[in-house]
Symmetry: C2
Subunit: 342 residues, 2 copies
DNA sequence: CTGAAAGCGCTTACAG
DNA sequence: CTGAAAGCGCTTACAG
């Protein structure tokens, strides 16, 4: 462990601690020669600033908090990958915490996180990003934060999302254009806004193409494999089976694939299947699932960027706090794709 | 944000800061009445210690570093779940970092992590836990650390593992006892010790049951879905197909299931498939994969426990630094299970 | 462009 | 059992 401190290098360089401090923080008001000498010596002595001392003096912790509901979800994973990479290049570190699905305790956990670790900023992953109490807490506590894919209270803070509605519209239209005529949809959890947006995109694409599906082609799911299984069974036992099933996430789409296999249906010849999210699962099962690639890593990088530069300024106009990133249709083997949209 | 500090509550309680400090740290040398009064007032004022100040004074950071190769692996996820839960109850927080597969840079990343964040302890996940340079670095830096599932240099530090050899032995024996006679194995990545242990368990179970398999029943995999796909294709195109395939992880087992489906083989009637790890994937695909449940969450909790109590003491004998946790055979639908071993 | 002083909020080590 | 002093390693704000 390096025990070199500011003073050591100040003495060696024959300057004051302040000058060294200025050099370390890239303060422009330092003579070129002094700067060069000091930074050379700092390097030689392998100086590393003591983060705790700096934190105490400036109340900047160089930590970013990341709050999720379950650390085990693949959404969180992908987010971490982007977030960690970005942090590495900007001197920050990520403190992860999860609410473990307990919405009651979520507030306490977040309160504890900001009070104890004094993170410089917080990233809220869905569905935490939609909890008004959390938004209130952070606003009052004056902690900068970015919400990922929220769907309520959008003028309250920076938020990053993609256009779920349009993506679902595109998926559905792509299915229509590639010759499917009986397109079913499995909706996501009712308590998540994206479910509604994706469902609406599906409906509007049908309408804008003058198509109409029977009501039994709409199934309520809960973003889980299990719920996908149940929905898929009902859909594939219908007398007039759909020839395409668009599930609101990959997990449920994977379940549809399983049910199709159980019933000895060929995917995609008998039924095309499309998911949403492009999680690991999509390319792990056979056939690989056509899906929508969310820009999760990019969201993470942007979130870190907003939090670590002064962009998290509260005086911003609402229009500047909205960040919509691009998605991508990822057509793979689980759907018949005559016309490829890119 | 609470701006209450030690002094505020010292004044209000009519005692010195030291007494308050002692109460906050559960120092027994405080009169019962004083203690009661101080802690009541601290509660009322919602006092939260400033971690940076404490850190500066004690050089304890109350952070635990967790280093993995890829934050997106499900092994890491499960580990996080257990680790975060344990931290929550002990006042610590987790700083996550990943080496992003770059073994060259791993050392720098870890060096940076310990020097900048001054974590109180470090957890090394495989395969980082097997890098001798990292072990050296941490030993020299005098940072407490726990290695997860390492297979070399075992006397160098605390480590936590499960008995991979015995688990693989059990899986194989279970397959034999349930009537399988042609049992193949897909080996894991050659650079991970567990691959060797699992392979050896498979071999020894066969031998101890006087069974002999043809050499083409052994395939080299790399723990990836893709490698499992390749291996499974070769195995299932053999003139004398195996009636059971034991893959060294779930990812590869899932690939075997896919190939079986492609070839219109019934699982488990035509071929039984067993994986290893009990990842989400095992219960996400159909049929659910029989596998070995690793005690990953328990490993995480134990690791945090070792690091946060003084058990990380270097003076321990080697025998006390070894922690072997129990696994469990998880028999599901992908294998014919006449005799259930629990 | 550079420096001397005071302070961030806690704790260790020493008295009593 | 309780307290006054000094210090952890940095930075802010003020001089020059």
């Amino acid at each position: 462990m390096s025990k070199v401190k500011l003073q050591d290098i100040a003495i060696k360089a024959g300057v004051s601690m302040m000058t060294v401090s200025r050099v370390m923080n890239n303060d422009p008001k330092v003579g070129a020669k002094t700067r060069e000498k000091v930074s050379r010596i700092a390097n030689e002595m392998q100086y590393k600033p003591n983060i705790a001392a700096r934190h105490l003096a400036t109340s900047k912790s160089y930590f970013i908090g990341l709050v999720c509901e379950y650390a085990s979800s693949s959404y969180v994973n992908k987010f971490l990958v982007g977030g960690l990479r970005k942090c590495r290049t900007s001197g920050y570190h990520v403190v992860l915490d999860e609410t473990a699905g307990d919405r009651e305790k979520a507030l306490d956990i977040i309160k504890n996180l900001i009070e104890v670790t004094k993170v410089d900023g917080l990233i809220l992953l869905p569905p935490i990003s939609n909890m008004p109490e959390v938004v209130d807490l952070l606003s009052n506590a004056n902690v900068g934060f970015v919400r990922i894919a929220p769907d309520i209270n959008l003028s309250a803070s920076h938020y990053i999302c993609m256009d779920d509605y349009q993506a679902a519209f595109d998926v559905t239209e792509q299915l229509i254009k590639s010759g499917h005529t009986r397109i079913a949809h499995i909706i996501g959890s009712p308590n998540q806004g994206v479910s509604r947006l994706r469902y609406q995109g599906y409906l509007d694409a049908l309408r804008s193409n003058q198509k109409m599906m029977p009501p039994e082609y709409i199934e309520q799911g809960y973003f889980t494999y299990k719920s996908g299984l149940d929905a898929a069974k009902r859909l594939l036992e219908l007398p007039n089976k759909p020839d395409a099933i668009f599930a609101a996430n990959d997990e449920m789409a994977a379940a549809v694939v399983s049910v199709a296999h159980m019933k000895h249906l060929d995917v995609p010849q008998d039924v095309s299947i499309v998911g949403f999210d492009d999680t690991e699962l999509a390319t792990t099962i056979w056939p690989n699932i056509s899906t929508v690639t969310q820009p999760i890593k990019e969201m993470a990088e942007l979130a870190i960027d907003i939090l670590t530069t002064s962009k998290a300024d509260k005086t911003l106009k609402a229009s500047n706090m909205r960040h919509v990133l691009d998605y991508r249709l990822q057509l793979r083997d689980s759907s018949k794709n005559i016309v490829k949209i890119t």
